[in-house]
Symmetry: C2
Subunit: 354 residues, 2 copies
C-alpha cells in the first residue's frame, strides 16, 4: 500500500520509523538458538507486504495523539505498547498467511515460493504455530492481561471465520449474509481490533489495565477497521478472480478450485436465470481441487461469465460502500495528517491492484 500522504511528510516519516521498529521487534522476537527455525523464519519474513495491520494500530494511535494533545505533540513517538501490539498483529497475520497457504495448497506468495510448497505442509503447520505462540509471548511482555485477552478473543473469532468458510466450501447455496459473517470474522475482526487498540493503548495504566468501557472513539475506530477489513477481503476475493497473477504476486484462482464462494459468484448464482445457474454450477463442479486455475479452461470460462454479468461490479460497489462507511466512522476525530492518512488508507483498499 504505497501511500502518498498528501503534503504531510512528517506523518509519513513518523510512520516509516515506527514500521521499521516493528520489523526489528518482529525479527528479535522470533530468533531461536536452532538454525533450522531461523531459516524458516527468514523465509517467512519475505512474505511481508503492505503491513496493513501494524499501520492500523499505529495510525489511529497518531490520530488520537493529535486529538488529545496540543500541536507540539505531533512530533512525539507513540508509546512503546503501540509498537509491541503492531508487531503482535503482524505476527498473528503472518501465522494466518502460512496456515492459509496450507489450506489453499498455494505455492506462490509475494512472488516467492510458499513454506508449504518449499518444505511441505508439515513445516508450514508448525511454523504457523511457532509464529502464533511468539505473538502471544510478545503480547504478554506488555504485562496487560486485558490487552492479551482481547487479542486472544480476536484470534478465537478469526479461527471461527476460517472454520465457517471451510464448512461452506462447495455450498452453492451460500447466501450473502453468511459470506459477510465469514469475512467479518476471518478478516475484519483483526483489523477492527487493531484500530481499537490504537486508541485504547493510550490509556494503559502502569499496572497494565486499560480504561476501555466502550468509549465512543474506540468504538468508532474499531468500526472503521472492521468496515475497511470487510472491504479489503472483498477486493482480495475479486483479485483472486480477475487479478493479474504477476501484479498480485501470489497464486490466484484458488477460490474457485477450492470451492470457496465469494461475493461475485454468490451474486451470480442468486441473480442468474435458472438455466444459466445450472450451467455455471456444472462448470464449477467440474473444476478439480488440484486444477491450475491459470490454465484451466473451466476456470477461464467461469471468469468470463462473471465478467459478462453484473457480479464483478456488484462486489466492487459493496467494497466502495463499505469504504465510504469506514471513512464516515472517522467523524469523531479532529482534522489531522493522521486522520487524512486513515482516509487515504481506506481509499487505497478499493483502488489496489495487489
Amino acid at each position: 500500500m504505497l501511500l502518498t500522504v498528501g503534503q504531510d511528510n512528517a506523518i509519513a516519516s513518523r510512520l516509516g520509523a515506527a514500521l521499521a521498529d516493528v520489523e526489528s521487534r518482529f525479527a528479535a522476537e522470533l530468533i531461536s538458538d536452532l538454525t533450522c527455525v531461523n531459516s524458516l523464519v527468514a523465509h517467512v519474513e519475505q512474505y511481508r507486504g503492505k503491513m496493513l495491520r501494524p499501520m492500523l494500530v499505529l495510525v489511529p494511535g497518531f490520530a488520537v495523539m493529535s486529538h488529545d494533545r496540543d500541536a507540539a505533540s505531533s512530533s512525539e513517538s507513540l508509546p512503546v505498547a503501540h509498537h509491541v501490539i503492531a508487531t503482535v498483529v503482524e505476527m498473528v497475520h503472518m501465522a494466518t498467511l502460512v496456515h492459509d497457504d496450507v489450506l489453499d495448497d498455494a505455492d506462490t506468495r509475494r512472488r516467492g515460493r510458499t513454506v508449504n510448497a518449499m518444505t511441505g505442509n508439515e513445516a508450514a503447520v508448525m511454523l504457523g504455530d511457532y509464529l502464533i505462540s511468539h505473538a502471544y509471548h510478545l503480547c504478554c511482555s506488555l504485562g496487560a492481561p486485558a490487552v492479551s485477552r482481547f487479542i486472544a478473543d480476536t484470534t478465537n473469532t478469526v479461527c471461527e471465520g476460517e472454520l465457517l468458510q471451510l464448512a461452506n466450501r462447495k455450498n452453492w447455496e451460500l447466501d450473502e449474509g453468511t459470506y459477510f459473517e465469514m469475512i467479518r470474522r476471518k478478516t475484519a475482526a483483526l483489523t477492527g481490533a487493531c484500530c481499537r487498540l490504537g486508541v485504547t493503548l493510550h490509556d494503559m495504566n502502569a499496572d497494565g489495565t486499560t480504561i476501555d468501557d466502550g468509549e465512543p472513539l474506540a468504538d468508532a475506530l474499531q468500526d472503521y477497521g472492521e468496515k475497511l477489513g470487510v472491504a479489503f477481503q472483498i477486493v482480495d476475493d475479486l483479485l483472486d478472480l480477475i487479478g493479474d497473477q504477476d501484479t498480485v504476486g501470489k497464486s490466484l484462482g484458488r477460490d474457485i478450485a477450492k470451492g470457496k464462494l465469494t461475493l461475485p459468484l454468490i451474486r451470480y448464482l442468486q441473480s442468474a436465470a435458472a438455466t444459466e445457474r445450472e450451467v455455471m454450477l456444472t462448470r464449477i463442479e467440474s473444476v478439480r481441487d488440484d486444477a491450475d486455475p491459470t490454465v484451466d479452461a473451466s476456470v477461464t470460462t467461469i471468469r468470463e461469465h462473471l465478467c459478462d454479468s453484473d457480479a464483478i461490479d456488484y462486489a466492487k460497489q459493496w467494497a466502495q460502500k463499505l469504504v465510504d462507511q469506514a471513512k464516515g466512522s472517522l467523524s469523531l476525530l479532529p482534522e489531522s495528517p493522521a486522520k487524512d492518512l486513515l482516509v487515504e488508507m481506506a481509499d487505497a483498499v478499493v483502488s489496489r491492484k495487489r
Copy 2:
C-alpha cells in the same frame, strides 16, 4: 493412566473432582455460536486420554499444600488458578495432537478417526489453531501476565522441538544428543512447566504476579516433570514401534514411515556392524511415506531386527533411568499421599501399554 493410589482414596477423590472440573472448563471455554465449530470440538473431546498434563499441575499442587499447611488442609480444594492452568495445558496438548496428526498423516487416535482423516487437513489445521487460541484466551483470564508469558514461552519451545524433529526426518546420522534435545523441547518442556506451575500458582498475588525466583521446590518439581516427559516420549516412541495398535488405540508405525528416528533406531544404527547398518538403511529408505506400517513387509522386518538387537532394551533402560531420576527430584517434598501419587505416576510411565 489408571492409578490405584495405594490406600488413600481421599487424594484420588480430590483429583477426580478436580479433573471433572477441568473437563467442564475445557468444554465451556470452547463453546461457539457456530454449529460447525461445536461439532469439530465435540469430536476432539473424544481424544481425551490420560489427562497426564492436567494431573501434572494438580498433583504437585496437592503435594505442596501438604507441605505448606497442617494436616487439616488435606481436604481443601486447590486455588482456582490450578484448575484454570490444568485446563490450559490440556488444551495446548490437544492442539498439538490435532496438528501432530496432520504432520503424521495419522488416521486413528483414541480408537476414533482423526480430524484430518475425517474432515481433511484444512479443518484439522484450523481446529488446532482454534484450540491454541482459546488456550491463551483462558490463560489470560487469570490476570497473571507472568504465568501467560511462561505458558507462551513453553509453547515456543514445543514448536521448536517439532521443527527440529521435522528438520531431522530421514537424517540417518541423527545422534542421541539431538534426539534428547528434540524430545526435551517437544514433550518435556510442557510437562516440566505443568509441574512448576503446580508449585508456583500457590504463591500468586492478587495482582497476578507470582513469587518465582527459582525457588528450589519449583525447580525440583519442574525437573521431575521434564524427566517424566522425556521418559514418556521414549515409551511413546517404543509403543509406535512395538506396541499393539488395538491396545494403544492410535495409528502406529508412523515414525518409520515418516523417517522419524527414535532412540531404538538411533541405537541400532550407531552400534550395528557396518554391513548390518547398510542393510537397515536400505530397508528404511525403501519404506514409502504413505506405507501402511501394519502390513508393510519392510516395516515388519525392521521391527524384527530391532527386537533381535539390544535397541529396544536400551531405550527401555533409558526410560527407567529417567523415571528413577524423576522420583529422586521429589526428595524435597515431605511424605504425603500426593507425593506417593507422583511416584506412582512416574512408575506408570514405564509400565504403560497405551
